[in-house]
Amino acid sequence: MSDYLIEARGLSKHFPIRDGLFGRSTGQVRAVDGVDLAIRPGTIFGLVGESGSGKTTVGRTLLGLQPKSAGEIRFRGRDLATLSKPELRALRPRLQLVFQDPYGSLNPRIPVGEAIGEALLEHGLSSRDELRERVLEVMAVCGLAPYHYGRYPHEFSGGQRQRVGIARALALQPDFIVADEPVSALDVSIQAQIINLFAELRERHGTTILFISHDLAVVEHLCDDIAVMYLGKIVETGPRDALFGQPRHPYTRALFSAVPVADPDARRERIVLQGEPPSPAAPPSGCRFHTRCPQASDRCRDEEPTMRPLDGTHRVACHFA
């Protein structure tokens, strides 16, 4: 048994670009390109990065909801690729996903109580008689009232829907939850409730969570470990305090310098990056960040930096950090 609940090594997901008369593959979008992740049980792991950096794809391939192109995923030390279909299906309730878009992820034609309870029956986690009770319990945990049971998704507000999505995942009492930007669609007061809900889950049930977000303040508040992604690769990872205290990668620094601080007198150095992130279909040579990096040199253009440890689990992929 390893120290980690879930581990990914060299995880890659490439989407073919089909073009032309016969739909031949003319290239690949390297959404995720060789990502290593290791998440300790009972912790919240934050995955941050800008739009299109591959965060969502990491989450989905990690759960096997999307086939991976390369790499290895281990859950409790078992390689998920070696499992048969029925074995994988039996494992599903242990690994859950909270979607970014709470509306799209709920079937519009099924009342939410039924949607939450459906998988409980399927996996024999509840008998038919106590199903309703179990569902109401988990709904209450997520701040939903019993009369919400028979309602359809369109009858809820955005925040309530997100809570339905979370209740649906929690009902299965998973060991590991991938929360894919669970709060970015919500207003701040509801964000706080949901974030506290996740924190509570970790305290009470020891649930392990991969928290995908672009909101650094939330990540700093909630997460134990953090990884920063840029263009399909992890550029820096480590414990929260190390990362926020001493960000080493120029991209991480630029990212963190953008976090607003609730102190009007605070003097901060603001690092503004130039340009747009390059296309993941044609990533730059060498270090992928060199096109926007303020410290880039010739070496960065030619040689791709590898992850190297700094102190403890803090690791960075930069020639100069």
Binding site: L63, R89, R92, P93, F99, S105, P108, R109, A119, L172
Partner: protein
Amino acid sequence: MRQFILRRLLMMVPTLLGASAVIFFLFALTPGDFVDGNYMLTEARSRELKALYGLDQPVLQRYLTWLGQLLHGDLGFSLQYQIPVTQLLDQYLWHSFLLSLTVLLLYWGLSLAIGISSALRPYSWYDRLVTLAVFAAMSFPVFFLCLLLIKWFAVDLQWLPVGGMQSTGSEATGLARIGEIALHMVLPVLALVMLQSGSLTRYVRASMLEALRLDCVRTARAKGLKERTVILRHALRNALLPLITLLGLELPGLFSGAIITEKLFNWPGVGHIHVDSLAARDYPVLMGFTLFLAVLTIVGNLLADILYAAVDPRVRLR
């Protein structure tokens, strides 16, 4: 809900009034009538007949007379067959209905099965083959397909009857009669199913492909539901929604008869009557029949709306 249905039924009145006007004037203002078509008649006899059928009166008055008859449930009198139109339709309508209903059930079933199964393996060899076959079947001209079937199965192989609904001079009753009719139905049903399942299969496939990409289907998989449950309960239910409208539009089709197919297989259906009435300018039959189809179209739409609300909780009828 009840209010909605009541209001929609009330709305039928002006709609049908408009439809009746369009139908009547379209036929009445077309030059020539039943009597003109018969050049064997003397002028005096022709005038006599026109007066008898009321064809010599002003158009507007003829419309009002016709409308008055309609309100009494009287569709008029067929000039060619010399019986009331309602009686005429009643004789032939059910033959067409029998044929159309069989075709409808078969081709919806077939299209759903093929459409769903090919959506589950998009762009696979199976999918490509099915697409090709479907387009090939669709692209045949009706008359050619019918004649080909007759040539192969009725003339060369002599497995099936050439046409008609029962064998000539047959006096079969009970089960034997049912068997005989069924045997006569095989070829026309085959032809119609082949021609119609094409487009519906494509609809089902596209609709299903879209549904399979929905986030909620991904959720269903993430829950670890059986693939069968994912497809039938989560994807299919969403995919069927747009098809309901199509189903509603099938209602008039059930009674309208298949003109060319019925003609070629000598099926005593209403499509047959339709062509003959057109040739003879038997306008009361044409008008009555067209109006009947107009009613069915409206009712079919209403049924589709009600069905839509029944299966999609997001739709509230008001």
